[in-house]
């Protein structure tokens, strides 16, 4: 067991609201660690619509999701937040000393005065393809990611999808697997053209199969896949396979946070509107993941929530200390923290 990372605040989610929380907390000298399931900051802004313009960020008549993320990263840089990407928060408990312990699926432990849930629509998780009965095969012969290529050695592999993941794994697993069949609903791909060309070349050489169609059924007992039915433009074909890797993008789920015992309102976390605190004191929820009467899922609402949450966290982390409210325009101490003095 690694020793826990001691910090002031753990922020779950590195989307725009989680990032801005670093700024607000930083002004009060509260150090943050951020945990996100994605491999980079920005949350939905970076994952779902990096190129799409957003028109309702104050003072930005138009800004893209990626540009907003970049600007926020620049704004919080003086506070040196520490990021832990590709991780999902799994465990949570209150410690005897009043602090909280948060655990990730990689086994890291964090100890903090406060936990701020800024998880937006939830954590991005692989989308389950719409194939009846697929649940029974998951984790046994259907996998949504490749952890070790060796697990696919000498297997008859069915890869489904038309993006980079599907194409990359088709190319990379072909030398390892006994056979590889790629299935995509159309002959065009969303993947890098170079990978697509390589895939078609492999097919020419007879190294892989490529079927145009959609998987409509799976066969095999006890979770062990034996064949898949593929419905294509010319009817149905059956492809023998004992491993399937579907790549259907990501969807958002609340995940393990749902089991923390927080009061919820239709899959959202109920908070008050003074501190944006959940039903567990010391645990806060800001941004799209929270709910209160009148809630609007706007980035700017999340920014406001971050500012008010910070006041409460400051009191929690340094009880009894006098709260001095200051403006960044005039306070020399804040400007020093921002590195502009």
């Amino acid at each position: 067991m690694t020793s826990p990372i001691e910090t002031d605040v753990v922020i779950i989610g590195a989307g725009p609201v989680g990032l801005f929380a670093v700024f607000e907390l930083g002004l009060y000298d509260l150090k943050c660690h951020l945990i996100d399931i994605l491999d980079r900051p920005g949350g939905q802004c970076a994952e779902l619509y990096p190129e799409k313009p957003i028109y309702d960020i104050p003072a930005w008549p138009e800004i893209s999701g990626q540009a907003l993320t970049d600007k926020l990263m620049e704004q919080i840089a003086p506070f040196s937040p520490e990021f832990h990407f590709n991780r999902m928060v799994t465990g949570f408990r209150k410690l005897d000393n009043g602090r909280f312990e948060v655990e990730t699926d990689e086994g890291e432990l964090f100890h903090a005065h406060a936990v701020v849930i800024a998880a937006g629509g939830g954590s991005f998780q692989p989308k389950r393809p719409p194939v009846p009965g697929i649940e029974a095969y998951e984790g046994k012969s259907v996998f949504y990611s490749v952890r070790r290529m060796e697990e696919f050695r000498d297997k008859d592999l069915l890869i489904v999808g038309g993006g980079d993941s599907a194409l990359d794994w088709t190319l990379n697993l072909q030398p390892v697997a006994k056979s590889v069949t790629l299935v995509h609903r159309r002959p065009e791909f969303r993947a890098a053209p170079d990978s697509v060309n390589k895939m078609f070349a492999m097919r020419e050489e007879g190294k892989i199969r490529f079927e145009v169609g959609q998987v409509t059924g799976l066969k095999g007992e006890g979770g062990q896949l034996e064949a898949a039915t593929i419905k294509g433009p010319d009817g149905e074909v059956e492809v023998a396979c004992n491993r399937m890797l579907p790549f259907f993008g990501l969807t958002m789920k609340l995940g393990p946070i749902a089991d923390w015992g927080l009061n919820q309102h239709e899959n959202l976390i109920a908070v008050d509107t003074e501190k944006f605190e959940t039903s567990i004191p010391g645990v806060f929820a800001i941004g799209d993941i929270n709910w209160y009467p009148g809630k609007l899922k706007l980035i700017l609402s999340g920014f406001h929530e971050a500012a008010l949450m910070t006041q409460a966290v400051k009191r929690l982390a340094h009880p009894g200390e006098k709260m001095v409210f200051q403006y960044t325009t005039s306070s020399t101490s804040l400007q020093k923290k921002l590195g502009v003095q």
């Binding site: 619509y49 799409k52 989308k127 719409p130 999808g161 038309g162 609903r185 159309r186 959609q214 969807t251």
Partner: protein, 106 residues
């Protein structure tokens, strides 16, 4: 106002007066048509507002653009007239449009 009809998977018809310039998805949500989820709110980023355009209307509505076609890869039971309803803008020529909601969204 342009009249459009959304047919839910169970056959229930929703006849809607739609404003030109609004999307079919927005009208579905406003009228609580079951089976249209629109998780991403209309950003063409999730494929949960998938509909089948009625065959009679497929040509007038037109084919999806490349980005929408890419997103349709994530939809369930995609057919030749599949569209994401957030990408169909209501206009005069679509008066009488009929779209069908699939059995499920992805």
């Amino acid at each position: 106002m342009t009249k459009i009809t959304l047919v839910a998977f169970d056959g229930t018809r929703f006849d809607v007066d739609a404003e030109n310039g609004s999307t079919v998805m927005e009208n579905a949500i406003r009228n609580s048509v079951p089976g249209i989820e629109a998780e991403c709110g209309g950003a063409c980023a999730c494929a949960t507002c998938h509909v089948y355009v009625d065959d009679a209307w497929a040509e007038i509505v037109g084919a999806p653009e490349a980005m929408e076609e890419d997103m349709l890869d994530f939809a369930f039971d995609v057919r030749p007239t599949s569209r994401l309803s957030c990408q169909i803008k209501v206009r005069d020529e679509l008066d009488g449009l009929v779209v069908h909601v699939p059995e499920r969204q992805a």
